[in-house]
């Protein structure tokens, strides 16, 4: 039997960060900036929020490295899929 021990992340602090990032996203989306800069900034904030959820709420940060490898394995495939679709355009 294996037993793992770790400290709980600061769930409420992460929740506050997610809330602040959501508000920042909404505010940023309506700024008078070129579309490309809006898209880049919004995607950075969205990925940041997604990482916080995956690492701390899904506890990926405490998982074995092999699960990490498994968890990130579809990301290159996802990028390839999107790029392949875009080349059709």
């Amino acid at each position: 039997m294996e037993e793992q021990e770790h400290a709980h992340p600061r769930y409420i602090l992460i929740w506050v960060v997610l809330l602040v990032l959501t508000l920042a996203e909404v505010g940023y989306a309506f700024m008078d900036l070129p579309k490309i800069w809006l898209a880049i900034g919004l995607i950075i904030m969205a990925v940041w929020k997604a990482l916080l959820v995956a690492l701390y709420y899904m506890h990926l940060i405490y998982e074995p490295k092999r699960l990490w490898v498994l968890a990130v394995s579809p990301l290159p495939l996802a990028v390839i899929l999107v790029l392949a679709v875009i080349t059709e355009f």
Partner: protein
Amino acid sequence: MSNAAVATMERKPMPGMKVYNKKLGMWVFLLSEVMFFTSLIGSYIILRFAHPEHWTNPGVVLNVPLTATNTFLLICSSVTMVKAFAAIQQGDVTGLKRWLLATIVIGAGFVGIQMVEYVALSGEGFLPALDAYHAVGRGNPHEGPSLGGPLYGATFYAMTGFHGAHVSIGVLCLIFVYIQAVRGKYTLADHEGVEIIGLYWHFVDLVWIILFTIVYLI
């Protein structure tokens, strides 16, 4: 409690991946879900590049403040879900039930608000799969210039609809887990089911974070 050292449940033998089988199974399922939503997002990107005239600026057709509130709700439900898991990790069955119930209520609230949004948008003429529909825009339900085009509505309802279905299934699963908790199934030593549904629920939240940005804000 946030920094308290806690011992997770005793694990069953797990050669190879070093996680128990149900958890590995859920991760593999979630990875297939990543590809599912990637196909939707990829399709959205090419359609938007190919026909930018079908889309409008953020907030013109879609109700961003309402959906931002809904996003906030879903993020809150992730916190309550993780608190439920933290509670049972310490053997607190009462806390588990309380936080699970909160997660169910908030999750159902998310679906309810999405329904309200759909009803309002469809009332304004923002519908998918109609040959000649044009979104009219918020505040001018039946007047003013036509905005956007059919692809906007089709992709919007496809992406948010599939996500909404995932949330609805998640709420049903949470209700099942809650009933199991009430029946005393979960203990300090055995709470795999809570962790499994938690992974699914957080994934649904994660997907919404991406969809909210792509569909509503860009």
